[in-house]
């Protein structure tokens, strides 16, 4: 649901130059998790919230189901495990790992969409005004 980059007519210029020369002024765009103020944040938060919901289901779903329908969850057996045990002991950790992988990939796709390249950071070539660096520590 996140990679639908259809009909966002206001974005092409963001994509081509990554907003680097100020087409989006990130330093003057409010940060509020419920009110994303830039196209990037909107896209990012859409991914974040969708995946957060999936995570909550994977983590707290099995135990809640076990509480509500104890007999059903404990009597169904899958590959030897009672269902509640399987979903909690194996489903939750593995599910979180898969979700993490998916998120990291989606976030990389967002970087690409907005023309962000992190490989340049190592040489710390800031394309921005800081000619004098401020890098010295």
């Amino acid at each position: 649901m996140t990679d639908t980059d259809t009909q966002r007519s206001d974005e092409p210029q963001v994509r081509s130059d990554g907003g680097r020369d100020g087409s989006v002024d990130y330093l003057n765009s409010e940060v509020n998790i419920f009110k994303p103020s830039t196209p990037f944040m909107r896209d990012h938060l859409r991914v974040v919230w969708a995946m957060f919901a999936a995570w909550a289901l994977i983590v707290f779903g099995p135990v809640t189901a076990t509480y509500l329908a104890t007999d059903l969850m404990t009597s169904v057996t899958v590959i030897g495990f009672p269902l509640h045990y399987l979903l909690t002991a194996i489903g939750a950790p593995l599910g979180a790992l898969v979700l993490s992988l998916v998120y990291a990939r989606k976030r990389d796709a967002l970087d690409e969409k907005y023309g962000v390249d992190h490989s340049a950071t190592r040489q710390s070539t800031e394309g921005t005004p800081a000619a004098d660096g401020g890098v010295e520590k």
Binding site: L27, N32, G80, H84, I90, A96, H118, T121
Partner: protein, 562 residues
């Protein structure tokens, strides 16, 4: 479940574990400790940048392993199998809480923290809320977390040490802690990070080898014990799988939630993101870290199942009377290898893995605590003119003092390894997580809000611990407790010491938000720093959000800091 130090090792540990000096395992453990010291010496640090953030030079896979080793302590290696064996389905709340929390850390905090780009967790709180008081509270919380958490590690090392070297619990705790402290004071974060990759390999190889061999020899499993143990669950006592026997639904939720938000609030976890080369590395190394963690976490329930079955065959019903003691449970991983009649050197390998796990985590915790003392309290508040030499000195002194305090407390620990560690998670989830989360995701969070929130969090934690844990230590409090072991049973039901964050963290959020709304907005400079943390634009390897903001606003005409 309290094990007292006065007991002789033979009573503390079961006879079957054969706690006495063993030549081959002793050589193995000694060689391993010598290796850690050597690596620490080679990568020793001379400046504070190296001591605390490893020069911000660590890559994906290496940081992933460091996250894993830093994370997987004696609580994961020994304590988790113990909790599953002793408390059945409730123990799984620890598996879930300690693994799935990394996802929340990944989507909400990891990359943004890397962009913020400071040195320590208190640094974030102090700079973000522009307050030395907030910095000091965060620093003291960091030190307190390191203390509570490490007590669990010292107990784990002591119990395993008895198995390898014989001797008594007291000697072993002192010996192991002395080695850990010596190595840390010598090597700092760079050495510790390099060591963590090694320690991860040792601990995961030892754990998995132990699991596979015990499973194979015992006839439980062949190629995938992490799944195959399902088939034997119906042969175990029903206590192993039946839900909500040793902990109700609420306690389960409270424990898992507390461990999840605690994961996101732990300073020694957070600082791992400051050591990486870029924010993308921060993200991917979290994924790698969770993968490395899952390797062990999917295996621990299997190990617990094998161990419980072997225990039932060789010693007696683990859930009967007298049943499995806390000290036995805490070494169930080693005990299982012993009960499966594996050769001594192999049991020694499994034991060595436990020690590696404990040392790696204690290292991370102590570094976080020492930087909190030297950098955040001493340099930022007491003596801003401090030289690198003075900072290093204060940092190392903190490590030594903290090590001594932990050692003394661990001689008479109040709970199981896993439970002790969970108290530290409650604290991190109550005090630091709300500051990190709100600080990064709502720019209007201000100083007054943060101070009110952190104070509330600390109050809830101390109340929960005083209510449930301290009575075992302080006679005057003990006299006030009823049958439940808590002074105010209702409070313990809502805010259990082990899971106080479920009810507490939302309260801290509410207080922080309400006070922030009621008082002035933070200065524009701070807001810009928060915005810089969320911008997609890449930053230099050594740059912090603050520097970027100062440069940019300087150019556009507004006054910068200097």
């Amino acid at each position: 479940m309290t094990a007292t130090a006065a007991l002789a090792p033979a009573q503390l540990l079961p006879d079957a574990l054969n706690a006495s000096f063993k030549l081959v395992p002793s050589i193995m453990v000694t060689a391993m400790l010598a290796l850690f010291l050597a690596i620490g010496y080679v990568f020793r640090v001379a400046d504070t940048e190296g001591l605390w953030v490893a020069g911000r030079s660590i890559g994906n896979l290496e940081n992933g392993m460091a996250i894993g080793a830093n994370w997987m302590s004696a609580a994961s290696y020994l304590g988790m199998a113990a909790l599953i064996a002793l408390s059945g389905y409730y123990g799984l709340a620890f598996v879930v809480g300690w693994s799935t929390g990394y996802f929340i850390l990944l989507i909400f905090l990891a990359a943004q923290m890397r962009r913020f780009g400071k040195y320590t967790a208190p640094d974030f709180v102090g700079d973000r809320f522009n307050s030395d008081t907030a910095r000091a509270i965060a620093a003291l919380t960091t030190i307190l977390i390191g203390f509570v958490y490490s007590v669990g590690q010292a107990r784990g090392m002591g119990l395993v040490g008895i198995y390898v070297f014989g001797g008594d619990y007291t000697t072993m705790v002192i010996l192991m802690m002395a080695i850990t402290v010596g190595y840390l004071a010598l090597s700092g974060m760079l050495g510790a990070t390099k060591n963590m990759a090694v320690q991860y390999v040792i601990l995961i190889v030892a754990f998995l080898a132990g699991l596979y061999v015990v499973g194979y020899v015992g006839g439980y499993s062949t190629v995938l014990p992490q799944i195959e143990y399902g088939a034997m669950l119906d042969q175990l006592s029903s206590e192993f799988t039946e839900p909500f026997i040793s902990g109700g639904f609420y306690l389960w939720l409270a424990t898992a939630f507390s461990l999840i938000v605690g994961t996101c609030g732990l300073p020694h976890v957070l600082v791992r993101f400051y050591t990486v080369e870029s924010e993308r590395t921060a993200r991917w190394s979290t994924v790698w870290g969770l993968f490395f963690i899952c390797l062990l976490y999917l295996s621990a329930p299997a190990f617990a199942a094998f161990g419980t079955d072997l225990y039932a065959q060789a010693i007696g019903d683990p859930y009967g009377t007298p049943g499995m003691t806390g000290a036995e449970g805490d070494v169930i991983v080693v005990l299982a290898a012993q009960l499966a009649n594996l050769p001594e050197w192999f049991v020694g390998l499994v034991a060595a893995g436990g020690i590696a796990a404990a040392i790696a985590t204690t290292a991370g915790l102590f570094i976080a605590a020492s930087s909190a003392a030297a950098h955040d309290i001493y340099t930022s508040i007491i003596n801003p003119e401090a030289t690198q030499r003075q900072q290093l000195l204060v940092g190392r002194a903190t490590i030594v003092v903290l090590g001594a305090l932990v050692t003394v407390t661990a001689l008479d620990p109040p709970a199981l390894v896993g439970e002790l560690v969970a108290y530290a998670f409650s604290l991190a989830g109550l005090v630091l997580f709300p500051m990190f989360f709100l600080g990064l995701w709502w720019e209007n969070t201000n100083r007054q809000g943060a101070l009110a929130g952190m104070t509330t969090g600390l109050f809830i934690w101390f109340a929960a611990i005083t209510n449930q844990v301290l009575p075992a230590y302080i006679g005057a409090l003990d006299a006030m407790t009823g049958e439940s072991g808590a002074i105010v049973p209702v409070f313990a039901d809502v805010f259990p010491a082990i899971g106080a964050a479920l009810a507490g963290t939302p309260i801290v959020f509410a207080v922080t938000i309400a006070v922030s709304l009621a008082t002035d907005e933070p200065p524009e400079r701070i807001k810009r720093i928060v915005r810089q943390c969320h911008s997609p634009e890449p930053m230099g390897q050594q740059q912090s959000a603050e520097e970027v903001v100062a440069n940019k606003t300087g150019e556009s005409g507004t006054t910068a800091d200097d």
